[in-house]
Symmetry: C2
Subunit: 137 residues, 2 copies
């Protein structure tokens, strides 16, 4: 059993502060051996963040804050509020707009290793492209 | 992209109300194809729930409420509060005690199918034991 507390991640390499404004706390990464990674990401009010996870499936549960997600492939926009989950089951290109500070719990498959580098599209490379074995299904 | 809202799960088979007191909202199940399932589970104040997922790995993020988890294999007890995650990376037998209502975001690998039956230990059978293909890694 592992116990991980947000306050213990602050100031470590598992607290990732983006120049785009968001902060991601990596509670579980690939080397935790769960087969998925699990993060909390905080988007400040007023941010609009385009993302595209070409190599990962991601599910995101909003427990605090309000905003919207727009699917850049279809143009569809959906309101996000506490109790809303969105699943990027088609590697959907999307933009997240935070009207208030949003706090999101995220799970990734394959698990994020913590060593990903965003490419020109804003995507993470797959684990194999970094010379790492894939821990994914 | 899938959007799932808690209020839309109420009254459906994805709202599982246990005779033990907890309620689980299954936002994502095996057939959603993410490689993990994702739930929100609400434990009322005063409940003590023994659990043992012999065939699944589970990670649980607490965003509301307070309580504790005891590892029944080691006797260790850990406080749980908003911002705490616990990961059952060794199929740990455990009991969750809710001092106040706790709201937890849970991810399972392999994904829960929604058709599991608790056995005498309180565990879910693995997908293969139910004649279902395993979607897990």
């Amino acid at each position: 059993m592992k116990i991980v507390r947000l306050e213990d991640l602050k100031g470590t390499e598992r607290e990732v502060i983006s120049p785009d404004g968001w902060t991601s706390y990596r509670f579980l990464l690939e080397n935790d051996g769960m087969g998925f990674s699990m993060h909390e990401t905080v988007f400040p009010a007023g941010t609009e963040t385009p993302m595209w996870y070409k190599h990962h499936l991601e599910a995101v549960y909003c427990y605090s804050g309000e905003g919207s997600i727009t699917n850049l492939d279809t143009g569809e926009r959906h309101a996000i509020a506490p109790g809303t989950l969105y699943a990027l089951d088609k590697h959907d290109r999307h933009v997240l707009k935070a009207d208030t500070e949003m706090r999101l719990v995220c799970a990734f498959n394959p698990p994020v290793t913590g060593r990903e580098i965003h490419d020109a599209d804003g995507a993470y490379a797959p684990p194999v492209a970094q010379g790492l074995p894939s821990a994914a299904s």
